[in-house]
Amino acid sequence: MNLDLKKLKLREVNQKLQNIGSKQNQRSFTVINPEGNHAICAGLKDEIDVTIKGHTGYFCAGMNQNAFVTITGNVGTGVAENMMSGKVHVKGNASQSAGATAHGGLLIIDGDASSRCGISMKGVDIVVKGSVGHMCAFMAQAGNILICGDAGEALGDSIYETEIYVKGKVKSLGADCIEKKLERKHEMVIENLLKNSGIKKFKPSDFKRYGSARKLYNFKIDNLSNY
């Protein structure tokens, strides 16, 4: 079913998609003419497939639960912010704060993500097939982020327990983020992420693992220089 944002109001499209329920047979939708509008497909909660054809504005597919949302173009700030479950797949590039504070589900970005990707993430899995900008995984608390390209400055600054895997170069690590040993259990996580995002050309051992040195969890005067 096609939903045309040139003919329907954004609120009408979102309200329709937010209230599909579990009984309807129609479970596949296409949103056309997004034209960079904000908050398209925010707050979906049912198991439906939505394809957005074109480029979107801020907070696309924010707070997503259960739904599978695909965007064929680029997305603005905060795609899939605070996602709880389901899948969001961006075929173009993502602007800043992609997957911010997201608790669960899978966010796939085929292109690059700019600054602060995965900021304060709380359990989501993020796969970026291109590169990420500065401050990726800032204060990230849980979940995994897999970066197939390079990472910008201050990767994982003030990180808690998110695991970061990077294939390319890291410009610099943020406060309290260190490289860690890639063990079998981590390789299994990477294997899963590669499989779920349809990446065949890389293997888990191509990636390096980064995470928290756990020195800044609580204030200690001895660690003052690390802050």
Binding site: E35, G36, H55, N74, S115
Partner: protein, 294 residues
């Protein structure tokens, strides 16, 4: 907030549509800046050497025309709403002196060989209509929709700011060291008409260009000297440039095709441009200066 937009045409055939493209971009950015709006259009002047863009404020057009033609005989004077475009061969030193001494109640908002500037308080949609932007032609243009934060909603507080010949600047963000910088630039001879932070950045750029630095080097040194959050688009006679501070909180997106380069705070500002869905769309990296046509 604030919205900034810019468009540079690579294909000369599109010059007739510049005003239409730019007005759509400004209208789409009304939500980011409902307080005031302004734009600069670059169109080479063939008959006369210089163009002067003037805001009449509360002065009657005919009164102004009478006063002006008393001192300058040879000039073409055209009224567009509460703005006036004067075309003449008289050099800026002379005209600036006349305005400073004899026509204090009007504001010179820009001058040069190709620039025309219009800016006013009010919703961008109304401002664009009032100056009939849709009908204007040119090679490139930049615009601004303002959500006022650090200084009052006035014409003087509206963007673009022009502090040098054919130069102009629009800004999304705020500067924290503008008072110090204004004092330093005043000592070096720069003049400022408002308390606005962006005007200081424009003055900084003009001062550096006057000292024969390139636009690229000027904006690179600006990254060190201008403290705050910003995405700047700066226009010159031949083209424009964009730069974002290194933290890059303030958004920007660029769409480039074989026909044009468009810059805006958000993609929705350019959704109406021809073939934009097939354009190369990217975010300018922080701390990098991008230029076209310069």
């Amino acid at each position: 907030m604030c919205g900034i937009v810019g468009i540079y045409l690579k294909n000369k055939k599109l010059e007739k549509s510049l005003g239409r493209f730019l007005s759509g971009m400004l209208k789409n950015m009304s939500s980011r800046g409902p307080d005031s709006a302004g734009f600069a259009i670059y169109k080479e002047e063939k008959k006369y050497k210089y163009k002067y863009s003037i805001c009449l404020n509360k002065i009657n057009f005919l009164t102004f025309k009478k006063q002006f033609t008393k001192v300058i005989k040879k000039a073409k004077i055209e009224q567009i709403s509460d703005h006036v475009i004067i075309k003449t061969n008289e050099k800026p030193e002379k005209i600036l002196k006349i305005i400073n001494e004899k026509l204090k109640d009007i504001s010179l908002v820009g001058y040069g060989k190709s620039i025309e500037i219009f800016k006013q308080v009010g919703n961008p949609e109304k401002v664009v209509k009032k100056f009939n932007l849709e009908k204007l032609e040119g090679s490139h243009g930049i615009g601004h929709t303002r959500m006022a934060t650090e200084s009052a909603i006035t014409t003087d507080g509206s963007h673009p700011y022009s502090t040098g010949e054919d130069e102009c600047l629009v800004h999304n963000g705020s500067l924290s060291n503008h008072n110090n910088l204004r004092r330093e630039l005043r000592k070096k001879g720069s003049k400022f008409n408002s308390e606005n932070d962006t005007e200081v950045a424009a003055g900084y750029i003009s001062n550096s260009l006057k000292n024969k630095n390139t636009l690229k080097d000027t904006l690179l040194s600006g990254l060190k000297d201008l403290d705050g959050f910003y995405t700047f688009i700066t226009g010159t006679r031949k083209g424009f440039a964009i730069v974002r501070d290194e933290i890059a909180c303030k958004p920007a997106v660029i769409a480039e095709t074989n026909d044009y380069v468009a810059i805006a705070s958000e993609f929705q500002a350019m959704a109406h441009l021809p073939n934009v869905n097939n354009a190369k769309i990217f975010e300018p990296d922080p701390g990098i200066v991008y230029t076209w046509g310069n």
